[in-house]
Symmetry: C2
Subunit: 288 residues, 2 copies
């Protein structure tokens, strides 16, 4: 028990392939999940392309794993219409791949400012327009789009959607609803502890997401000190994020989905990946 | 002209001593400001302690410089009551030093989570309580307290106040006012471009600050890529922040104060400080 909260079910653990990206290919990761009793997996597209989508889908089915997300679509802003069209086409392929995998959602890392410009407002507009356009195809494929707000330190070059509230404003804009009508779940939010833990309005923002739009929940930890902007995420329990409290918030909205472990870390990438898997399982139970 | 905005008056330029911290002591910085025609200065307390507050005040008066802020008070959270009391005493001394210098404000970097804990909520409560307690002494000394929201990447270990709105909520809490009454200006906000530029609600948040509570304006730039969380701030114009747009927002609230250049950067710390001063003057005119 942590703060009155029971330890999470081990069945809800999911491996984001970024966590062991330097040690294994996707075939090995799928086998390792089955071997370690991890029931969920969330592949990145580079790993997926290596193995091939159909073979990946076959192996994942064979091992009875749940695909908790495909990482990633997004990167909508571009300098010109041709660039934005190319991004949209790539996103449609990502939707198709996510559908082939039977993924629970396509995670969107929306992209940053167009290189050579300082136009954050324009980038945010392109993101919203791109999501609105992609949503049509995603609906047709029955593939939920999960906007992932990224930590503000990634605003310039990775994602200019940086808070849950901002992601929800986009959801509201691209999916207008009659007063009081429930969201469809076709567009929603991926909540990643690393990106949102600092938000002074976190509890309120998660209440605003609600059940239908809470499409994915990612965990890791914020280390003190953090030595690198990209590759120094921590294992659950090694940092300062109160993960049980955050889980309490998402469960409070009725979320009963997977807890996906996504750790970009030169430290963990150097270790024996089976040891990493054992640590993830242990920390998921004790520290999240 | 930048986007319809006239270039700023060179008389509004201020040097935060962090910018040339590795090259000069405070005596040299004061002389350099006078030499380069920079009319404002904002010392850090380590530099101030080296020189002595009275001698610093004398030299600054002698060169007719404006002290646009003293950096810094804050760091309120502590593990126990004795620690919080020690922090408060140190903050009172900072208020006294700021008053001796005739500073326009004392800048508050409020502090992060108590080491060894994950209690962000508690840290934020300690910050608000500490500011409320310090405000009494600050009022008696006629020294405005400027809460500086820091970028969320500093939430854990430097400042758990991370947005302008959060700073303003603290202002409202520690300075309750009758409906419609103007704020006193005893407590307000230091807006630093580096910390706030990403905020999706930036324009609205700056409108909420208003004139009385906009106590300081700091500039530099966000580099792409940013190679270090602490020491890779950019010179104005070298990054992605639309500084003229931001200045337009603060001027839109009636702000007519200084533009303080605060650049923590191993790059700029390696250069001839007179060259740094010339670059600052040029970029202030052309890129801010």
């Amino acid at each position: 028990m942590m703060g009155g909260l029971a330890a999470p079910s081990p069945d809800l653990l999911s491996l984001n392939t970024a966590t062991v990206a330097k040690q294994w290919n996707l075939r090995q990761m799928i086998a390792a999940c089955a071997h370690h009793g991890v029931r969920g997996i969330s592949p990145w597209r580079d790993k997926l392309a290596e193995l091939g989508v159909k073979e990946a889908a076959r192996l994942i089915r064979e091992h009875d794993l749940t695909v908790t997300g495909l990482c990633r679509g997004g990167m909508f802003p571009a300098a010109d219409a041709a660039g934005r069209r190319a991004a949209l086409e790539d996103n449609r392929r990502a939707v198709d791949d996510a559908a082939t995998l039977g993924s629970q959602c396509l995670v969107l890392v929306v992209g940053g400012i167009v290189p050579g410009t300082k136009d954050l407002v324009g980038a945010r507009r392109m993101v919203q327009d791109g999501i609105a356009e992609l949503l049509e195809h995603a609906r047709a494929c029955n593939m939920p789009l999960a906007i992932e707000p990224l930590h503000p330190m990634y605003c310039a070059d990775r994602a200019c959607v940086n808070t849950i509230d901002q992601a929800l404003d986009i959801c509201d804009a691209v999916e207008p609803r009659a007063q009081g009508a429930a969201p469809s779940g076709a567009i929603g939010v991926a909540v990643d502890a690393y990106h949102v833990w600092w938000d002074p309005d976190l509890a309120q923002a998660i209440r605003r997401i609600g059940r239908e739009r809470l499409l994915a929940y990612h965990i890791c930890d914020w280390l003190v000190p953090t030595r690198d902007l990209l590759l120094d995420r921590g294992m659950m329990g090694d940092g300062v994020i109160d993960l049980p409290a955050l889980r309490g918030m998402v469960e409070g909205q009725g979320y009963r989905g997977f807890h996906e472990v996504e750790i970009f870390s030169t430290h963990w990438w150097q270790l024996d990946p089976d040891e990493v898997m054992r640590t993830i399982k242990d920390r998921h139970q004790r520290c999240s």
